[in-house]
């Protein structure tokens, strides 16, 4: 069809097609209408409306409020995401530890031991590890208070100074009461105060006193001190009720020394022999080779018996008294043979007993070898008599003013109730504790000190061993250093405690230094410690009167029907940190109880009073008219006829966590013959009221399962030319007669880890069960705390636990009998954590592959992928996987138990490198993968291979005794490879998973099921004679 040439036009303008028309042709109207005059088109309107609606809609959505406030100017030494480390000192009364504090973005989040200190040598304890959470305790005082009202520091100072002047003006007595003060600068500050107010006296007391030792040394050697002990030099250790690993004087230091004597290698084929005579089963007794059950009233007699046996050998006069007990004669024999390498210690606070102990050590030549009187320690300076006199004076109304310097005697001094009653009549009372405790609430003024992590301080734990404490965070609240308060009240013109400490150090130590003071100070601050050369231990002459001591013992101790021992538990300690949920949820190393107070009872006595382990019942204990009611806990190893109650419970003003758990048993401690006695004869009455104690472990024996726990005797071990007792083996199809180790056969060739292969060794011999590693793991990995109810439900979240097993008298094939622990059992502690199996049974069963294997041998958990079927946990032979049964963070239900995830203050302690897990996911030990990654990154940035020891897991770092060693087992030079004597099974493929540990003590738990763990345990060796085993 032909194309039409016709053209139609709309109007004459189009036909003309003039430029004016062309310009407006695309507009709807030739002339702009009135609505378009506004300069907005319809499309603009739609655009703006669209924008407006979406903007309003977006604004209506709640924007997440992030409370992180960025730095306006970056501080010089803070790089976000990079940690800073500061050396400091943990000081809590007389408890001391030199530490390194890890901070992130200005917040302390982790404490580790300071290896530069020659006192604690890098060791820590559970309390030290946990103390970082006490910094963020919601129960802390926000600022100074008068009565219940807030007050400014200026007003407080004015009022306190006015009252102090008034009191001292009219000749009134002023007292400063404190626990042991380790800090020389604090003492100097107190001296300044004393100089201003002449009637001031400073009184020190300790929750667990060693006043008896001080008095005994005064009598024996003329030196009123507690000496240094060196367990590392002792081949034979005899301890009469001294819990030197758990709580006695300087447990961190002693644990380290003790472990050195317990190490057994092919090169060091000997270990110390440790005798323990005690009533309760202490952690020290649990580590002993020979343990004898005695009653507290027999402690003196046991010491006398030992003295008489040794005096007989040494030709010294014997004394009357003594009692025949198992192992005393044997101990005496061996002590005598090992003179100069022997140490006898006693936990008693009775001067008479300690005098006899001194005499024994004198016979053994311990002074100058295992005991150093020339380097006394300052951990226990409490004076029981002075403190008791103070209470009497207070009651008599003779005291005008009292300052409680960081102590809480209303709670933890036996006569606390008398102090509480008398305080009302005291004109001026000031408490400097950083928390509003039992004493603080009764004091007129509360002048809160910093937490130790916020404060400058120094310490002299031992003569000539000094250390510094430095703040690792700006004070969170309006607190002020207590020493500064004292200086202000002393009208010091320049009352800055930091300058005060620095000036003291300049005066005391900066004398013969070749470089300038600032460098010296910086060095001390960097190291955290300043140690003067040790003075040589000089010979001492024993001048004690053993006869008189023996007479005193004979007349003072009478056996009672029920004898009570008051002791410090391995978790709560003396109760000063009771409001720390990390410690409340930490199972006591022996009883495995958490969140609960109890009275320990011997199994035999429990039988007498018709009481079984499944149903716990209350008992009432009465002493001196005071009665407490506590649930009974059956404790194998406890001497029949004795009961034990830990202190540290029954707090009433500690905070939400600790209040109203258990009873305060400090009032059961009495002043007997000039020192506080931690045992007593009491009335003990079981009741029928039932109770359940929250324990993390309720099955106490290892059922004779040698693939779980392997132990041997030193003698047998030597006899068998360093081959351990038990080797699991399996028959093969091809050659049924020839059994092979289970690791040698596999369906698979085994994958290769071409870079690192992380592994761990755990020495059951040097693990004392102290549980510092458990707390370290909790803090490092943001492990949720779940509270008492959930522990009863057996849902504690600990990634690392310490299994504590008792031996049984029943034969291994008597499966019913072997469930029951022996009356006086051997004890073994086994740290149990994810074994990072190379053939991990958890990995195959996860339907969504949320748990997988890394190329470095780690069994990894991908929380984001986990859907929570719990199949992996069921299929874990080691039962180390932990499920988030509830949402443990931001959940009212767990506010009290888990403040680190439920309060803004508490959350500051969380490790930003580790995810806080949500409800419904599985979690477990990661071998501190964040540390591994950080270490690898550092090495990569510096273009060098990762060095051994650069990456240490939190548990290994916290282990005072070095029982946990972590490292790369692909690296033959690493510490762990050398310790285990690792070699590849197939030399041609050194990086394959299959590795053999040639250390004769090395074994893997449940080796025969073929999961090929990356953790080896070293067999527990007991230094017992075969005959008496």
């Amino acid at each position: 069809m032909e194309e039409s040439k016709k053209v139609y036009w709309k109007g004459i303008e189009q036909l003309a097609n003039n430029p004016e028309f062309v310009k407006n042709a695309h507009h709807e109207f030739a002339q702009p209408g009135p609505e378009e005059d506004l300069g907005h088109s319809r499309r603009d309107f739609l655009k703006m409306m669209g924008f407006g609606v979406s903007a309003v809609a977006l604004a209506a959505c709640e924007a997440p409020i992030r409370k992180a406030i960025p730095y306006v100017n970056k501080p010089v030494d803070i790089d976000p995401s990079l940690p800073n480390y500061y050396a400091s000192s943990y000081v809590n009364g007389g408890d001391y530890c030199s530490i390194v504090v890890k901070t992130r973005e200005g917040r302390p989040i982790k404490i580790e031991g300071n290896a530069l200190s020659n006192v604690t040598k890098g060791g820590v304890s559970a309390q030290v590890e946990a103390s970082v959470l006490s910094l963020y305790d919601n129960a802390r005082l926000r600022g100074p208070k008068v009565g219940k009202d807030k007050i400014s520091w200026e007003d407080l100072d004015k009022q306190v100074i006015a009252k102090l002047n008034e009191i001292s003006g009219k000749g009134g007595q002023i007292r400063i009461v404190s626990n042991t003060i380790l800090s020389p600068s604090t003492k100097a500050a107190i001296e300044k105060f004393k100089a201003t107010y002449a009637s001031t006296q400073h009184i020190q007391y300790d929750q667990t006193s060693s006043y008896g030792i001080v008095k005994a040394n005064e009598e024996s050697f003329g030196a009123a001190v507690v000496p240094s002990y060196d367990f590392s030099k002792a081949k034979v250790i005899v301890s009469v009720a001294a819990d030197f690993i758990g709580s006695w004087i300087s447990p961190i230091e002693f644990t380290k020394q003790y472990a050195l004597t317990r190490e057994v290698t092919e090169d060091k084929r000997d270990m110390s022999r440790h005798y323990q005579f005690e009533s309760i089963l202490s952690i020290t007794g649990a580590n002993a080779d020979y343990r004898t059950q005695i009653k507290p009233s027999e402690e003196g007699a046991v010491v006398i018996q030992l003295y008489n046996l040794l005096a007989g050998k040494a030709g010294r006069p014997t004394v009357s008294g003594g009692v025949e007990k198992a192992n005393i004669a044997k101990a005496a024999e061996e002590l005598w043979t090992n003179r100069g390498n022997a140490l006898v210690v006693a936990g008693s606070n009775d001067k008479a007993i300690q005098v006899v102990v001194n005499a024994i050590n004198d016979i053994l030549g311990s002074y100058g070898t295992t005991i150093d009187l020339n380097t006394p320690v300052n951990f226990r300076q409490g004076d029981d008599v002075a403190m008791s006199n103070f209470v009497n004076e207070l009651e008599a109304g003779k005291i005008g003013a009292v300052i409680f310097y960081n102590c809480n005697p209303v709670y933890d001094f036996p006569a606390g109730d008398k102090i509480a009653a008398a305080l009302k009549n005291v004109e001026l009372s000031v408490a400097t504790s950083y928390k509003e405790d039992e004493t603080g609430t009764l004091a007129k003024y509360m002048a809160p000190d910093h937490h130790f992590l916020e404060a400058w301080n120094d310490a002299e734990p031992k003569k000539n061993f000094f250390s510094l404490g430095q703040p690792t965070i700006t004070p969170i609240f309006k607190s002020r250093a207590a020493q500064e308060s004292l200086l202000v009240w002393s009208n010091e013109p320049k009352a800055d405690y930091f300058e005060f400490v620095k000036n003291n150090w300049r005066t005391w130590f900066y004398k013969d230094q070749t470089f300038d003071f600032q460098s010296f100070w910086d060095k001390c601050l960097y190291d955290g410690v300043y140690e003067l050369p040790a003075t040589a231990a000089a010979a001492v002459t024993f001048a004690g009167n053993v006869g008189a001591a023996a007479d005193a013992i004979a007349s003072n101790y009478k056996a009672g029907a029920w004898e009570l021992v008051i002791y410090e538990s391995g978790n709560i300690g003396n109760g000063s940190q009771a409001n720390n949920p990390l410690l409340q949820e930490l199972p006591d190393p022996i009883t495995k109880a958490t969140w609960d107070h109890y009275v320990t009872v011997a199994p035999k006595d429990a039988k007498d009073i018709d009481f079984s382990e499944s149903v716990t019942k209350y008992a009432t204990i009465t002493f001196n008219g005071k009665t407490v009611k506590l649930p009974m806990l059956v404790q194998p190893g406890q001497t029949p006829g004795t009961i034990g109650i830990p202190v540290g419970y029954g707090r009433t003003k500690a905070g939400k966590v600790a209040d109203n758990i258990g009873q305060n048993v400090y009032p059961f401690v009495a002043l007997v013959n000039g020192s506080l006695s931690y045992s007593a004869t009491v009335t003990f009455t079981p009741t029928t009221e039932t109770y359940q104690i929250a324990q993390t472990q309720t099955h106490n024996t290892y059922m004779g399962r040698e693939t779980v726990v392997q132990e041997t005797l030193l003698s047998e071990y030597k006899d068998k030319n360093w081959d351990r007792d038990f080797h699991p083996s399996v028959a093969t199809w091809t050659d049924p007669e020839h059994k092979v180790a289970p690791g040698e056969i596999s369906l698979w060739k085994g994958h290769e880890y071409n870079n690192h292969h992380w592994g761990m060794a755990i020495d059951l011999n040097t693990c004392t069960g102290c549980a510092a590693c458990v707390v370290a793991c909790n803090v490092e990995n943001n492990v949720a705390l779940v509270g008492r109810e959930e522990v009863i439900n057996r849902r504690e979240m600990h990634w690392l636990r310490i299994d504590r097993y008792y031996s049984s008298d029943a034969p291994a094939d008597d499966w019913r009998g072997i469930e029951v622990a022996a009356e006086n059992p051997d004890v073994v502690f086994q740290p149990m954590l994810c074994q990072h199996c190379n053939n991990a049974p958890c990995e195959t069963v996860c339907p969504v592959a949320a748990t997988t294997h890394s190329t470095e041998g780690l069994n990894q958990m991908t929380y984001n992928r986990c859907i929570g079927t719990r199949y992996c946990a069921n299929n874990c032979p080691y039962k180390v996987r932990r499920f988030n049964w509830f949402k443990y963070h931001d959940n009212r239900q767990f506010e009290t138990a888990n403040p680190a995830m439920n309060s803004d203050l508490g959350k500051m302690v969380l490790n930003p490198d580790v995810t806080v897990r949500s409800r419904g996911v599985m979690e477990k030990c990661s071998f501190c993968v964040q540390r591994i990654q950080a270490g690898k990154l550092t090495a990569k940035k510096e273009r060098r291979p990762l060095k051994d020891g650069e990456v240490v897991t939190a548990c290994a770092a916290a282990c005072s005794t070095g029982a946990i060693v972590f490292g790369d087992i692909n690296n033959p030079e690493s510490k762990v490879s050398k310790l285990l004597k690792i070699r590849p099974m197939d030399e041609k493929h050194p990086h394959r998973i299959d590795k053999i540990a040639d250390n004769p003590r090395a074994y893997q738990v449940l080796e025969e099921i073929g999961v090929k763990p990356n953790i080896w345990y070293l067999t527990k060796v007991r230094n017992k004679d075969a005959a008496t085993a």
Binding site: N793, D803, R870, P877, K879, R919, V1011
Partner: protein
């Protein structure tokens, strides 16, 4: 003349005609339900509501409201899951395997048994869902779906994933099989509704029957499909519980790690499935007056299957004990010692009594033929089978390798509540089925009345109806 076999009891008694069959079965759909039905539904709904509250609590607060702990990660949840899956075995076994073996007695019970299967599998499926820590993600992460996370994929090594496939396949096939069987019967109800002038019912059942017209060719295809589905279902009867048993058998836990689990679980499943079918049918036949269709002969045959499977299960229990001793493996030995002698021995002996000893009573003909005894024993068997799963799951876990972790499991009201929930769900569904669906396969039963129970003197009438 009534045709009677000299060697077999008639499958349908009471001289029922084909018309009687249509009438007897359709009238429950057409008539108002009896008061007992209303009562039962009310009770079921109350139970269901309470259970739903418990389920919601678990979903809101977390699995922590159950009594599980760090050592026992599965208890009532997976016990109930396996128990329900087991019960779900009878339906398909009856309709598929018995169809292949031409067991005509299955015809009057297969409909209800299949319905039971489907509801039981639904109940079973709730447990793996609810027991997940993060159901909101898990319900689809466990499926191999393409996703935007690169190579992230389900773990095909995991028996739990096999479970997902096994259960969903079984459910799908069972549902299709059941529904196809229902189509001619829906058409019957529709036709009757047309005659009765109930247009709504006619329309609904017409839709349900997919417009079934009953032509010869349709019937031919229908039977072909039934046979194919029966063939497909047969391996499923064996595979589902085999795979469920692998959840345990492939693990390393003593008491779980057992190679005899697949046949042992399948036998147990059929055992419990038949017991459940009996429990339900004994009630249904009374409530809906179906004694002529579900006769004592049916009951006896089913009791015989219970003896057989119960005995297989018993042998499996004894084999486990023997092997645990014979293997010389300390952990294996202890796991079984602990079952027999440990703190959960009461559960073990409940299981032994209910599953091994009680079914042996069926050797006695009088008991086998007694309605009351059968009813009681069918419930006992199901209690026993619940304990079997509880014993396997909980007593193996609560004391496994490392004694420090040994602990007990104590159920909470929510553990129990979840179980109650499935009962509510199951019975509500079953009651609705009994009211709205023909509980007996009319089409199939008609094929056996023809040979078995023609009424004397009405033969011509019957002939007419059949030819119509």
């Amino acid at each position: 003349m009534q045709v009677t076999s000299s060697v077999r009891d008639p499958l349908v008694t009471g001289g029922k005609t084909v018309k009687d069959v249509s009438h007897d079965i359709s009238r429950h759909v057409e008539n108002k339900p009896p008061r007992s039905w209303w009562l039962a539904l009310a009770v079921s709904l109350v139970v269901f509501a309470y259970g739903l509250y418990c389920v919601c609590t678990v979903l809101w607060h977390g699995i922590g409201v159950w009594g599980l702990n760090k050592t026992v990660g599965w208890a009532w949840d997976i016990t109930n899951f396996v128990w329900w899956v087991g019960i779900g075995h009878a339906g398909t076994l009856i309709s598929a395997i018995l169809l292949l073996f031409r067991q005509k007695w299955r015809m009057s019970i297969n409909r209800a048994a299949e319905a039971m299967t489907i509801f039981a599998v639904i109940c079973a499926a709730t447990f793996p869902l609810i027991h997940m820590g993060r159901l909101w993600l898990g319900f689809y992460w466990a499926l191999p779906l393409p996703n935007a996370f690169g190579s992230l994929w389900a773990n095909f090594n995991s028996p739990l994933l096999w479970d997902v496939f096994a259960i969903s396949t079984y459910f799908t096939v069972s549902l299709v099989f059941w529904y196809i069987g229902l189509i001619p019967d829906f058409a019957t109800i529709r036709d009757r509704a047309v005659v009765q002038g109930n247009q709504i019912r006619a329309a609904v059942y017409n839709a349900l029957s997919f417009g079934w017209q009953g032509g010869a060719k349709t019937w031919m295809r229908y039977e072909a499909v039934a046979l194919i589905l029966a063939g497909l279902s047969t391996p499923l009867v064996l595979s589902v519980h085999t795979i469920v048993s692998m959840d345990f058998a492939t693990s390393v836990i003593p008491g779980w790690h057992t190679t005899i689990f697949p046949p042992y679980f399948v036998a147990g499943a059929i055992f419990s499935g038949f017991a459940m079918v009996l429990t339900l049918l004994l009630i249904t036949r009374v409530v809906f007056k179906l004694e002529d269709y579900i006769t004592i002969y049916h009951i006896e045959l089913m009791n015989i299957i219970i003896i057989v499977t119960g005995s297989i299960v018993g042998i499996a229990y004894i084999t486990e004990l023997f092997i645990s001793w014979y293997s010389g493996v300390e952990y294996e030995g202890y796991a079984f010692y602990n079952r027999v002698q440990g703190p959960y021995a009461w559960a073990y002996w409940s299981m032994m009594t209910c599953n091994v000893i009680s079914p042996q009573l069926f050797w006695i003909k009088k008991i086998r033929m007694s309605i009351v005894a059968t009813f009681v024993l069918s419930i006992i068997v199901n209690i026993g089978m619940w304990f079997e799963r509880f014993v396997i799951i909980v007593t193996s876990l609560h004391r496994d390798y490392i004694p420090s972790s040994w602990t007990m499991f104590h159920p909470t009201m929510y553990d129990i509540g979840e179980y109650v929930f499935t009962f509510g769900l199951f019975f509500t569904a079953f009651l609705l089925f009994a009211k709205f669906f023909p509980v007996i396969n009319m089409a199939e039963v008609k094929s056996i009345v023809r040979s078995d129970s023609e009424k004397v003197g009405h033969s011509s009438h019957v002939e007419e109806e059949v030819h119509a």
